[in-house]
Symmetry: C2
Subunit: 191 residues, 2 copies
């Protein structure tokens, strides 16, 4: 049941069997239907979710416009981590784009793990560090790369999302209108 | 000597005397002259610095334009943390705007602390979490607030920087041209 999650944890750290068993016992299985939300703007995000199956998008609404900023696929961690850490209302929404399966862990359980042993503190540190590295890299890409470069990066790094995610969401992630994405796709199709 | 740093560490966690003594022993005192750099783009950021005295700006160059994005004052932590964590070349520059004093700790020393005791792992986790919270909040401010609102926030939260930092850097942090900042300052002066 925990096969993928267990493998994902190994990619961060070498847990002993006992540590792994304890940590996995903190997680809860949760099914989600397409269009269900992990969190909606205005709610507090109560858990961190490991995506065992399915697909989520992260979006927010500014003015009258909806902006999709990220996609979480299988084998990734989905959460509004700021809302989760600070127990404050989320500014974003995380929506299932397919029927999905999660393993979720709440704040109380994370604190139990942090109190129990050093390795879980290390896991929490590596998790926070990787979120920080990720957001800085996305900010940098937005400042330094053209939409076409961002599109080509996405095509190279996660080609599968083009079969599973509406182009309007992909355009939004890249930061352009859907029509501009279509033009970029035509222009670069032969490469 | 370590009075301010010691107080800053207490704001994160309650260290025992022994833990505090060990941790402080990892830091090195470093003087910097105005215009000296903690890191320059293309170099690897080798340490995290506690600003004991002075003032730094964080800037990068895109195309032919220089963008200042942050100011680090006394009692804050200055580093290109992504470059520090990943041992990769920095994309940013961190420059002293005044003669300054730092306490710096390098990666090897941080790893020694992480290996030594759980409380240092927790410190590292809280540090990374607070950096993540901070960058998300700055991203959100850029998306949701007007330049005028960002200016008024800055005036309320860190009024002292207006006496110490050139308005061209402040305008850049807010994301506008210096002339626009002047107009905003005139318009809001009476409030």
């Amino acid at each position: 049941m925990f096969k993928n999650l267990s493998k994902n944890l190994n990619s961060y750290l070498k847990f002993t069997d006992e540590e792994k068993t304890f940590f996995l016992s903190l997680f809860e299985y949760k099914k989600m239907k397409k269009y269900d939300h992990i969190v909606k703007a205005g709610e507090i995000c109560r858990y961190v979710a490991y995506v065992n199956k399915g697909l989520f998008r992260y979006y927010f609404i500014a003015g009258s416009k909806e902006h999709t900023t990220r996609i979480f696929m299988e084998d990734s961690w989905a959460s509004d981590y700021v809302s989760f850490l600070c127990h404050k209302e989320s500014e974003v929404n995380i929506e299932a784009l397919e029927d999905s399966e999660l393993f979720i862990v709440n704040d109380e359980s994370m604190q139990r793990a942090y109190d129990k042993a050093k390795i879980f503190e290390r896991f929490g540190r590596l998790m926070a560090e990787s979120l920080f590295i990720d957001i800085v890299s996305r900010n940098t890409n937005f400042l330094r790369k053209t939409p076409e470069e961002r599109y080509l990066d996405m095509l190279e790094q996660t080609p599968q999302i083009f079969n599973r995610v509406s182009l309007k969401y992909i355009a939004s992630i890249i930061g352009i209108e859907p029509e501009s994405l279509s033009r970029i796709r035509k222009r670069t199709a032969g490469r």
